[in-house]
Subunit: 228 residues, 2 copies
DNA sequence: GAAGCAATTTAGGCTTACCTAAATAAATTA
DNA sequence: TAATTTATTTAGGTAAGCCTAAATTGCTTC
């Protein structure tokens, strides 16, 4: 029989919690092993194993029932938000203070988020003037885990042409991010959206910028809010 | 039989290389397993094990002969210096940009040095104006591993009373560092050294500062150069 | 209601970097 | 030189966090 205890303060556990948080969505629905396996790039069996250990641990971070998926417990949610806070503060810091190009902040933050101290977190937060948003337009959770409600909608859900403000852009795909930036599609920009076909959107930021064709499959990388 | 290959890009290997570099001294003498074990806080058998793997690896980072100690190869030395560069740049950055108290920079840098990218290194180096010394007065190795020769001497080797300039202070012992700072004993300070007994030194920085009694056992934490 | 299928879990392995205990080698002392 | 002490290495083991292959479970669908 396998051991029943885990050390909960590992990079690995943090990544599981982050993934459950992200996949659970705002409704915090149960997340399946398969979805987690895909997200974390790990075999489904490894997921089961880790979830069993996490659930069996005294400090319960997740609620897990065999074959019925996982959810974060309040403690797990708080931890996930702490890591997210680290991540987004780091991204902001790399962008604002160290002049990283936006498409490179994610990977660096992804590595460092696990290793910075509370003091480091506090100091960059102070240095940046307690920012509320990272350079992608994502909001930075407060120390107690609070985040203001989201009022943006995914470009993927836009049904008719119109004018919007870019709320945020996804940080995972560096190449896409670079192209979006090159066309002026950055948080806060005015954006003219027209749907050329079932395949793609045509986007134009400001009037100087060239039009940009974005396949619908990537449309979820851009979130919008109405332009007043 | 144990495996003959190691992944050389691990935090652990970096720490071994750093320790060998530090213990070898400027003459780069062979370092014993016991000394390494003590420095790294690990059982002697674990040292033997790791050294055998390191030595057997194709990319030879160390020269190791059974029961005769280890030395760094040129490649190992370069790697150790890269890590040392990371460490000292980070310390400088935490101190100058993030306003850390000097006694806290070491531990944070010790953790982060393994995870920052070349880009991060370059950016903090640029931000700091390509510094040559860290806040403890230690010189920062160049990208190619070069370091200017040291012209300081340990307080422990001082035989007669006199006036000196504080060259550097050791970074490992936070409590001591804090006390030294409180008495004005920081790199660049003028220092009056008198030897009260076989047990301790009496140190006075500037004339405002209070005298500070430092046990001889800790004297190696302070390095001096002559005051012109 | 049985067959087929996809998702999930169990079982058993591997690697890394540690550990302890026992064996061996080298150095010191009598 | 023989005996003792100390340093080092060998041998065998552990915990994490991953893996693959082989069950198993819980649906669908006929």
């Amino acid at each position: 029989m396998t051991t029943r205890r885990v050390n909960l303060n590992t990079e690995s556990v943090d990544n599981y919690l982050k993934a459950i948080f992200a996949l659970g969505g705002p409704e915090e629905e149960r997340v399946s092993s398969t979805a987690l396996a895909e997200r974390l790039g790990v075999a489904p069996a490894s997921i089961t194993n880790m979830l069993q250990k996490l659930a069996a641990s005294p400090k319960s971070l997740v609620e897990y029932e065999s074959r019925r998926g996982v959810r974060l417990s309040p403690a797990g949610r708080l931890r996930a938000l702490e890591v997210l806070r680290h991540h987004r503060l780091l991204e902001t810091f790399l962008y604002e203070v160290l002049d990283y190009p936006i498409e490179e902040v994610h990977d660096e933050a992804e590595r460092l988020e696990h290793f910075i101290s509370e003091r480091f977190e506090e100091r960059i937060d102070a240095k940046l003037g307690r920012p509320k948003f990272d350079p992608h337009g994502h909001c930075i959770p407060a120390l107690d885990g609070k985040m203001p409600a989201q009022h943006s909608k995914s470009l993927a859900d836009i049904k008719e042409d119109g004018k919007f403000i870019v709320d945020s852009v996804a940080d995972g795909d560096a190449a896409l991010l670079k192209r979006l930036k090159a066309h002026g599609i950055i948080p806060g920009a005015r954006l003219l959206v027209s749907s050329s076909s079932h395949e793609e959107f045509i986007l134009r930021a400001g009037r100087a910028a060239q039009a940009f064709c974005l396949p619908r499959s990537l449309a979820c990388a851009v979130r919008l809010r109405s332009s007043d």
